[in-house]
Amino acid sequence: MTAIGSDAGTTASGGVTPPETSFLSLENLSKSFFGVTVLDRVSLALHPGKVHALLGENGAGKSTLINLLSGIHKPDGGALRLDGETVELTGPHDAQKRGISTIHQEFSLFPDLTVAEAIFAGRLPLNRFGLVHWRRMAQQTAEVMRQLGAEIAPWRRVADLSIAEQQLVEIGRALTLKSRLIIMDEPTASLTPREVDRLKAVVRALTAEGVSILFVSHRLEEVKELADSFTVLRDGVVVARGDIADATIDDLVRWMVGRELLEEDCSHAPSKSGAIVLEVEALKSRPHSARSASVEGVSFTVRAGEIVGLAGLVGAGRTEIARLIFGADPIGGGAIRLNGQAFRPKGPGDAIAAGVALVPEDRKQQSLFPTLAISENFAAAGGVPTGPFGILRRKAEKGAFQHFRDRLKLRSAGANAPIATLSGGNQQKVVLARWLELKPRLLIVDEPTRGVDIGAKADLHRLLRELAADGVAILLISSDLPEVLALSHRILTLRAGRLTGELAGSDADEESLMRLMTLPKAAA
Amino acid sequence: SAEPKGKDAEVTILVSSLTYSFPHFVFLQEQLEDEAAKIGKVKVLRADGQLSAPKQIADIEAAIVQGVDGIIIAPADADALAPAVKAAIDAGVPVVTIDRPVNGVPEVLANVAADNVKGAERQGEAIAAQFPKGATIINLQGIPGDKTANDRNQGVHTTLDKQPDLYKFVSEQTARFSRDQGLAVTENILTGLAEVPQVIVAANDDMALGAAQAVEARKLNGKVAIYGYDGSTDALKAVSDGSLAATVDQFPGKQGRVAVKTLVDFIREGVKPANANILVEPVAITKANLADAERIGTITQ
């Protein structure tokens, strides 16, 4: 193991000569934005048939490094060597041509196209007349989706897919590229265990064929299981690298965070079981034409001070339930009661006024205002009261933001910087802060820690527990089962739009949850 | 206002035309500039009114700043331009209006115009002369709301509406002064009518020429008499070969020449015209009096 120790200054400068088997190597790559150094002389070697994990806190520079490898940004210094030859990538297309394909963290697909077209965009298969070969395209799409264990029909419109399904399409796209190196930037952040298992199998199959994988994830168990070797970045500097077999999860955490992480308190402080805040009865979503599943006859309650977890596989309908309660989608049937009173929000505005908050799952589409500043993004839901005539109080906004910034260890240049300059995880923190500042009585969080590093995740978990302790009712939706298990007092499982079971948080484990999540509907 | 500049003084005048997209005004301008060259030492600046009163006001204001010696303007709106014209005169810049007057500014040096209403009356009279027993008429109007379009429409109506039993307007539509629409709208009207009309009267030559094509495509040549307006080169050709029955000449060239002469004489020598209202009589041009048309010289090429 070549852990370089936590003292960043002495590390990577000593350029490691990569073994000759390396397919791709980076030598002293540097990159800065507006004079702020984001990557500082990073070196890395990738080998055929191996999985290399890239680890680091939010904002450590992982995605930036990946952007350099996939031709999106150009490095300020250092060299990229492909098969021993120095190359300069001219753009994403160039990288692809050289056999490097990337699953981006903030991926974006083609909402108006079909799944098949999105997967084959830029290289549609042609028939012998030189025309698009629709049938072959559909077949290959179905095949790769099957490999990933996703039942997504090739002709569905991408816009109708959930974020997790879109993630699978994005993965499918990279797989069909037949690349020599596949870069995966947090591919599992919104996937449930079943899909993650499939992905692992796919990765193994790929490596068996000699494909090289660069893997980014904040789920360290996954990393431990899948990777052969690792590199840890902190503040843009390599602080450790080596074989994964030689490092424990605790080691990895220590290198990433630069300190010992407090053991997470997993004991479930029994909720003080306050009054029922949310009561959902026979809730139904409106039928959609091309729908594979919709919510049907779901009933449950959430009490003040209670964290209720909602678990299910991709497409189970968790997000839909959250959106129905929040008034984001029209209700198709059933009833919702809030604090004992009938509640039928006409839109999110009503829900917010009634003390309900929802942190949506899709950051880019549903949360971020790309042209606005960090502080404006933070204040967008009106958490900070305005003065008379709706005049903004910027000082108060700044103060409130400062509070969360410290609490969630947000890394940013300043509150007035554009939100786009933040790393994915830090953007998520801003979004969380936006909703927490509203001080809701019912907080619904949909994939709240998507892309958040483990340090911040622990902070966030602590925060959620404190909120519950203060009497807030929390509905937690997460595809990260350990997270659901660690936080929930009660866990509801969902499959194909119907509840299939309920477990007390203290009794549940991943196995029992998985069993309920995959139960056929009839057994509900 | 200011003293005469003297006989051989350099003179700069601004011509604010209604638009330079219509051949009528382009020809007027060319003749005006030709006359200016003949007079000598007269510099003519062009400003394109783009059919817009605010644009013309802005141009006049700029010209005053620039310090021109005189202004010739074909106003887009008789009321709207009055204050700007007044301001120019107050600033010592004499103004001649051309094509049509501005309202309520008696200080204007002269108005050189051929009244559009009068011209359209000549058009109507030509129709009445050719069809003394009455006719069914299609009326192709100009851009809705446009001053010229309104005047010409009015002129045709005042003449022919005197005998409402004889002259029937079977369809009145706008073709927006364009040949393209003149063609399409005429095709549509002809389809909609049970009987072929005897007359098509158009508010400009472009629409009339478009209508002539529609008529020709229907093989109705000779069965429908088409009346244009403007005396443009193409229209004169069409009159001579019989595809148009008549067009109306307002003698824009003459207007331009008179206007510039009047203005320069005043600037140089302080001579005011005997009558401030110099009217050029419009004439309907048919095959019979083709030679009277101002642009007859241009159709030979």
Binding site: D112, L126, P154, R173 | S171, E172, T174, L209
Partner: protein, 338 residues
């Protein structure tokens, strides 16, 4: 998405009546309008009149086909009206062998044949389109601004060439393209059909066509997928320019005259036709079939209101209302379907 737009969806069988309605909403609206006009004026449905309409929309429709490509990429082209005027004048100048007194252009003594005129118009249109495309693609200037500028510039050039007046009187072979007939069918209608078939085929069945959809749907993703976004963007403006050039030539031929004020405000009607046909201004969805329907709808409207002899002032009102109505109908039905 409508009218068999993107093929894979087209192959899905519509689940029910509403889905069917939604797919053919613009067509249904067109048929309803035609039924109404026929009811009010039976003459409307005569074959003579239907050919009239077809002839009248053909030039307009050719440009709308090009515009469909542009709008599919989220773009817009406001310059086409001016470009029609400019290219028409270019064709005229070539066919007349120059501008008297200013330019001499002769082919071995005589003026140039129609095909040189047509070629010149099309080439000028294409070049103008490429230039605009370069600003849109390479310099990321919004298409609205570039083509608004283009509109003024091309109109200015047209005025300079024609010196404000028309250029008219061409030979028979030149005039055949705008006024000739093949059997009972006017030549411009045939040209329109050919353009429609080629464009529909390119858009729906070739890689290039699909990349137009992909770029309109998400330009950023398209770039990451290795599509040559810039080149495709430039090409769609070039295509529209070519269509405008062809349109300019046909218009000059049809009118036997070209002038700088031709095609005024054409762009608005053309864009309306494309949007009525179900192509989204936000890019990524639409079809040539839809554009044809939209074009016919505008043609039927202009023709029907005149046949009914509606007052020109009221016509303006009705045209506006019906355009908004048609698009609202389409959107409403599609929303209801969900």
């Amino acid at each position: 998405m409508s009218l068999a737009s993107s093929p894979p969806l087209a192959r899905q069988r519509p689940a029910n009546l509403i889905a069917l309605l939604a797919r053919f909403a613009p067509l249904i609206f067109l048929l309803l309008l035609m039924a109404l006009f026929t009811f009010l004026a039976p003459r409307f449905l005569s074959s003579l009149n239907l050919f009239n309409i077809l002839r009248q929309v053909s030039i307009f429709g050719i440009v709308a086909v090009g515009m469909t490509f542009v709008i599919l990429t989220r773009g817009i082209d406001l310059s086409i009206g001016a470009l029609i005027a400019l290219t028409g004048l270019v064709a005229a100048v070539v066919a007349k062998g120059g501008i008297p007194g200013r330019l001499e252009l002769t082919a071995g003594g005589g003026p140039f044949a129609w095909y040189w005129a047509a070629l010149a118009a099309i080439v000028v249109g294409g070049v103008a389109g490429v230039l605009q495309g370069v600003f849109v693609a390479r310099l990321s200037v919004p298409a609205f601004v570039v083509t608004l500028g283009g509109m003024t510039i091309f109109r200015g050039l047209a005025l300079i060439i024609g010196n404000g007046g028309p250029i008219s009187g061409f030979d028979e072979s030149f005039g055949w393209w705008g006024r000739g007939m093949v059997g009972a069918v006017p030549v411009p209608v045939i040209v329109f059909l050919v353009v429609v078939v080629i464009a529909g085929f390119v858009l729906h069945s070739t890689r290039y066509g699909r990349s137009v959809y992909a770029i309109g749907s998400n330009p950023e993703a398209a770039r990451l997928c290795g599509l040559n976004v810039n080149r495709t963007l430039i090409s769609v403006y070039a295509l529209t320019g070519l269509c405008a050039g062809l349109g300019g030539f046909l218009l000059a031929s049809r009118l036997n005259s070209a002038e700088a004020v031709a095609g005024n405000q054409y762009e608005l009607n053309v864009i309306a036709a494309v949007v009525i046909g179900g192509t989204s201004l936000y890019g990524g969805t639409g079809s040539i079939a839809g554009t044809v329907i939209g074009t016919l709808l505008i043609g039927v409207l202009l023709n029907g209101l005149v046949i009914l002899n509606v007052s020109p002032y009221v016509q303006q009102l009705l045209i506006g209302a019906i355009i908004v109505g048609a698009v609202t109908f389409d959107i409403f039905i599609k929303k209801y379907k969900r």
